[in-house]
């Protein structure tokens, strides 16, 4: 871990304002993320399912049980981005939340959340 990052973590810990996924410390004063990956990282803190399919109980159960939510992948899909979020790093196949991040009124925002697998976008044959 670099010194700058270590210092950042130290200060954030002091202020007790650590939100977001493990690699992306943000403070309350930090502006809203303007990048799809930033949006996905910030979502890890709340894991809000406001944009999820109605009645998606399975997704809620999965997401709320996570101890170490991590953004594994963010990719462009047409005009939108898709983000794969799961519990912890690692390559083992497991369930994930798939966030659709679309541009609305000039800013990126989560438009849809669904359940999926961590191998989304893996090449197959």
């Amino acid at each position: 871990m670099g010194k700058r990052h270590a210092g950042l973590k130290y200060c954030c810990a002091l202020a007790a304002t650590w939100v977001g996924c493990a690699s992306t410390p943000k403070t309350v004063a930090t502006p809203a993320p303007s990048d799809p990956t930033g949006i996905a990282l910030a979502w890890c803190a709340t894991r809000s399912l406001e944009k999820a399919d109605i009645g998606n109980q399975e997704l809620e159960t999965i997401v709320k049980s996570w101890e170490d939510p991590q953004v594994l992948r963010v990719f462009l899909d047409g005009e939108e981005y898709r983000a794969v979020v799961a519990d912890g790093l690692g390559d083992e196949l497991r369930q994930a939340a798939i966030l659709t991040i679309a541009r609305a009124e000039g800013t990126w925002a989560i438009s849809h959340i669904e359940s999926g697998q961590t191998d989304l976008l893996w090449p197959t044959y």
Binding site: G7, G38, R73, Y125
Partner: protein, 322 residues
């Protein structure tokens, strides 16, 4: 102690840190590191990123997108977990990418726009008649009729897998930007060197209708596994004087020539997609089988790309080394 606290506070200021892949790439592009500098000098502009893949060590491998002369180019860069640049391709790769794009030497490709193809970050190589340029440097390349891996290219591929990808098993793609006048057998040597090292999804890049496009397929290593599968169709592709000849084998058994064939050695001949579809459709037992394309020795790469680009995304686009 005050000095330490001051340093910590300065270090914690958001203005000093990139907060996303987009910001990290922008900062690196402005600094002009390695291939990013080559793209900057060429007049390319940073667009966005196609994919950001989290690696096992917590860093990010990102395919950055650039606009140049109406084309969209992709370039892999690596960012650490604070989104600062930790690796970029060498400057020579950036120069080769720009040079190849502007040269007019790439084969025409009827495929998906390269910049928007959905895939994980890929290991890119630029191949001319005399050299292979990878993200790690330049490898001299001499045409040869021998299909044997290029040892240096194997080392570069291994470095990509172990160092750049941190042994993340998910990305398994490579992009080939090869001059269309190369013999297919030479492109096969390049493909073999990379796929033998573990990357199996290949993308051939060239000018499409409006921008650079790519066609995607599986490498020969995968074919060797697939050959065990029943119902695999192998197409032997031969460039004839005014048309293209196809020899068709199903599960290894060569099929009889069609009565309409232009050459008794060919199962059928075709010079358009419609003729190809008709000729292939007339072969008994062709339904529900899978394709493999197997070009002949001296066939130009350009011609192979044309052939493989015909059908509506053949289930398997691959090659078989002689």
């Amino acid at each position: 102690m005050r000095l330490i606290l001051a340093v910590l506070l300065l270090a914690s200021m958001p203005a000093f840190a990139a907060d996303s892949p987009g910001a990290g790439i922008r900062s690196a592009f402005d600094a002009g590191t390695g291939a990013l500098g080559a793209l900057k000098r060429s007049g390319a502009t940073l667009d966005t990123y196609s994919v950001a893949e989290r690696l096992p060590d917590g860093s990010w491998l990102v395919d950055a997108r650039f606009a140049l002369d109406g084309n969209t180019l992709r370039l892999p860069v690596k960012l650490n977990d604070a989104f600062d640049l930790s690796w970029a391709p060498v400057s020579e790769y950036g120069d080769a990418l720009v040079g190849m794009t502007r040269s007019g030497a790439l084969p025409q490709v009827q495929g998906t726009p390269w910049g928007s193809r959905k895939r994980l970050p890929a290991f890119p190589v630029v191949v001319t008649g005399k050299r292979i340029v990878t993200v790690f440097g330049v490898i001299p390349f001499e045409p040869s009729l021998k299909v044997e891996p290029d040892e240096t290219l194997v080392l570069h591929t291994q470095r990509w897998i172990h160092e750049t990808m941190a042994d993340d098993p998910a990305p398994a793609s490579f992009d080939v930007l090869a001059a269309g006048n190369l013999a297919w057998i030479d492109v096969v040597r390049v493909v073999y060197s990379i796929s033998a090292t573990g990357l199996f999804e290949m993308n051939f890049v060239g000018p499409g209708t409006t921008t650079l496009a790519s066609i995607s397929g599986l490498s020969p290593v995968v074919f060797s596994q697939m050959a065990e599968v029943q119902g695999v169709i192998t197409l032997g592709v031969t460039a004839l004087k005014d048309t293209t000849g196809f020899r068709v084998a199903i599960s290894g058994a060569l099929q009889e020539a069609s009565p309409k064939t232009c050459d008794p050695d060919q199962t059928f001949c075709a010079s358009s997609k419609a003729e190809f579809d008709q000729g292939l459709g007339d072969v008994p037992g062709i339904a529900n089988a899978r394709f493999v394309v197997a070009p002949e020795y001296g066939m130009p790469f350009q011609r192979v790309v044309e052939v493989t680009g015909w059908a509506n995304d053949m289930p398997v686009l691959s090659i078989v080394a002689p």
